[in-house]
Subunit: 463 residues, 2 copies
């Protein structure tokens, strides 16, 4: 087939074709069975290869075998360069991604993964413009109030809501919640233990915002779910984003009155920015941010977790010995986060500097000093109750001052900012921080014992 | 006053007197204000001193000052030996304590604190006879079905229930829950860091039982509490035991449908043993056992925590630097427990021994081996998802096999038993265990950074 002919079998055509390498497939019959849903149509009338580079879950024999069933012929050699159709003939799905604030530190561009610099992490609320961006795919268009969300119950019945419906039908709520990527501080595990597989985030894959939206619980009840007496088969709430990302949370969290799960359309009092899920995203406070699905358009009650690679693979954690081919099925999906903390600012000043005067007033320090700042956070709404800082490699410890803040929500969904000022003469070469949450969970001392090849949940003491 | 005259001012007298040292006090007016409630009557017509040795919270100037206000005179020297009334003239409150199984390892006799030997910790259910005993005072008499519990709401209204009422009025439920003392493994912190203040428990201040009782939620609702929409001032559920022990839990836990808090009258299918709270005790699954108040006779809705020393002092934890005079007010009461694990059995087998045959069948081992067993547990119903064992001082790790068990309850309130069999040639001098719960919380590597002078929450890796 000539490439032009394949292109005529795109979205809207009676038969949908796609190319992998130099081979042409008629995937029409497969589309309804595709586990990833209609995102498959991105490849309609074009190339599969660039998508399978992103959706790596396809890179295995089972998947190749499925595709081969739909083989119908090969591409005309006149349209091939080095044996395959050139990638520039495919529309770039990232071409409409928004511009990003130059203060963000990029780790990858397509998809965008960009980190908040430590200097912007010292306020309780992280400004939208510098909030870390962790996208798995491209940013879909913002369709505003007409954006549609379909809620599907376990028995298959569905109810559709536009964003406008959500605003009009349900009471709005505000929740202050910290979002943190499971890969936050991965760089430290790489440096402290050994090489890890994933974006090498420093301390900035975390941020805190006030989210406004409607309660998922209210929407599910309206859609027909008995939230007080859950049906036997309804065990997980699966979310799908407009760009095809998918994840799920246990149904108990989704319907918990005190769980504060929102369908959020505002971030810090402004409409959601496109990078953060415009026009509407899920906010699952206390859970790894990967479950707070952006651009959500489907919410499905299921007896199983989302089948996406982000639920079944990427966001899991393993023993230090389990290597790079672990038993994925056996490991638990990351949901609630363990306790975490980091140092975000270290400032020295002499007692003669004007900046020191207010600190002298507060702390009574009359000598050259060091002021440390940082954050501490735990999952599941478990409040941070203590932050210990050492300036002599863990031999002695000081308790940092925790900053009070006006967080909204039934539990402690937001980090604590902390400060410690100490005389410079007490400080050695390193500072160490560790935090304790209200269940007295603490952080591991060192990186090796929590090493996992994915570099997830790096919570060893930050030095 | 002669001692005989003081004795006439005991329980039932118009004026209540008591002696401290050689001084006599008329405490009649103070009784209604006593923060510890009517336990004060234990000293009526007798000596205060032995009780203040038990209730150490009294050993401070504020309390002495209160008592001095009620001074009325001194004891006649004819009744004094070495300047005070001899202790044998006081009734022994412990004289009716039950007999204990000789397999328990005692730490103290009055009150009884006795630990389950490791050899009895290798079954999922811990038998009642060898379940660890952690009493703070004496064991009160078992008054059976006529035992009365008073529920008091924040507005002061009360409703009384006999145990018989509870059985007849409310549905019974069964919950499998592990109880663990905050001092479990304290001995290891003492050995691994430095001296701690408290009973030097080894691995046996923990056990698991199936508890039968009625839901506290149901009883509170019946008593008039709006459990779905809690009154503003109702923040804690305080419990008082017949012997005067007191503790509290956050009201959200008390009324949580999935929190499974019981008023329990059976333990492993038998009536509660006297040492474990007969005829009825509170079971607060997922929380430190100190909140599962035995011999409960009062349940009080309050805007503050229990004022007992066991809530405001003993069951708290501190930074490694906070010393023996910490800021008690600032520290959080221990409620949910952090993740914990221990090794309870290490057995060597030669492949020739008959006992090894079944292991060879299961694990395919054809050489001299070592079988390790132990438990792992986390608070808040967080399930144990992985147990890592090292036989070479933490350089390499193996995942233990977690034993499935038929635990009852909305969350994972019970420990996991684990097993690991490894070739003997891989084993060094030490074995280390650490566990991970479903929020991927892990245990600290070492004792020093979690040291606290009370030796609470010793969760560093067990070696």
């Amino acid at each position: 087939f000539r490439f032009a002919e394949v292109q005529r079998h795109g979205v809207g055509a009676e038969r949908i074709w796609a190319i992998r390498g130099d081979r042409v497939y008629d995937i029409t019959e497969w589309i309804p069975s595709h586990p990833g849903g209609e995102v498959i149509l991105r490849a309609a009338g074009g190339l599969i290869d660039p998508y399978w580079k992103i959706f790596t879950i396809h890179q295995k024999q089972d998947v190749y075998d499925i595709l081969e069933q739909y083989f119908i012929g090969v591409v005309d050699p006149r349209d091939l360069v080095d044996g395959h159709v050139p990638a520039d003939r495919v529309e770039d799905p990232f071409k409409n991604d928004p511009h990003r604030d130059p203060r963000l530190s990029p780790h990858s561009d397509r998809p965008c993964n960009s980190e908040t610099p430590a200097s912007e992490l010292v306020t309780f609320i992280t400004p939208n413009s510098v909030f870390y961006v962790r996208n798995h795919l491209w940013v879909p268009p913002d369709d505003g109030d007409s954006h549609k969300i379909t809620v599907e119950l376990y028995d298959g019945t569905t109810k559709d809501y536009t964003l406008e419906d959500l605003r009009k039908t349900f009471q709005s709520h505000k929740i202050t919640a910290t979002l943190q990527c499971s890969g936050n501080r991965r760089k430290h595990m790489t440096l402290g233990a050994r090489s890890t597989n994933g974006l090498q985030w420093d301390v900035g894959a975390i941020g805190t915002a006030e989210w406004t939206g409607v309660r998922l619980r209210d929407v599910l009840r309206d859609a027909g779910l008995d939230v007080e007496d859950l049906p036997e088969d309804t065990k997980h709430a699966q979310f799908v984003g407009e760009e095809a990302y998918g994840a799920s949370i246990p149904i108990e969290k989704a319907v918990d009155k005190r769980g504060d799960v929102l369908l959020a359309y505002e971030m810090n009092g402004e409409p959601l920015p496109r990078d953060h899920g415009a026009p509407v995203r899920v906010i699952v406070p206390g859970h790894v941010a990967a479950r707070s699905v952006k651009w959500v358009n489907k919410i499905i009650m299921s007896d199983e977790e989302s089948t996406s690679q982000w639920q079944r693979r990427d966001y899991k954690c393993f023993g230090p010995n389990e290597g790079s081919k672990p038993d994925w099925e056996k490991a638990r999906s990351i949901q609630e986060m363990p306790v975490q903390s980091a140092i975000t600012s270290v400032k020295e000043f002499s007692s003669h500097e004007p900046e020191a005067r207010s600190l002298i007033r507060v702390y009574g320090l009359e000598e050259d000093s060091i002021a440390l700042q940082g954050y501490a956070f735990s999952g599941g709404g478990r409040e941070i109750i203590r932050v210990d800082v050492s300036a002599d490699n863990g031999h002695t410890w000081h308790q940092a001052e925790l900053t009070n803040s006006d967080a909204k929500g039934h539990k402690s969904w937001a980090w604590k900012q902390w400060t410690l000022v100490m005389p410079k003469r007490l400080a050695g070469r390193w500072f160490i921080v560790k935090a304790i949450d209200e269940a007295y969970n603490c952080q591991p001392d060192s990186y090796d014992p929590t090493y996992n090849f994915r570099g997830n949940l790096t919570t060893a003491w930050h030095r």
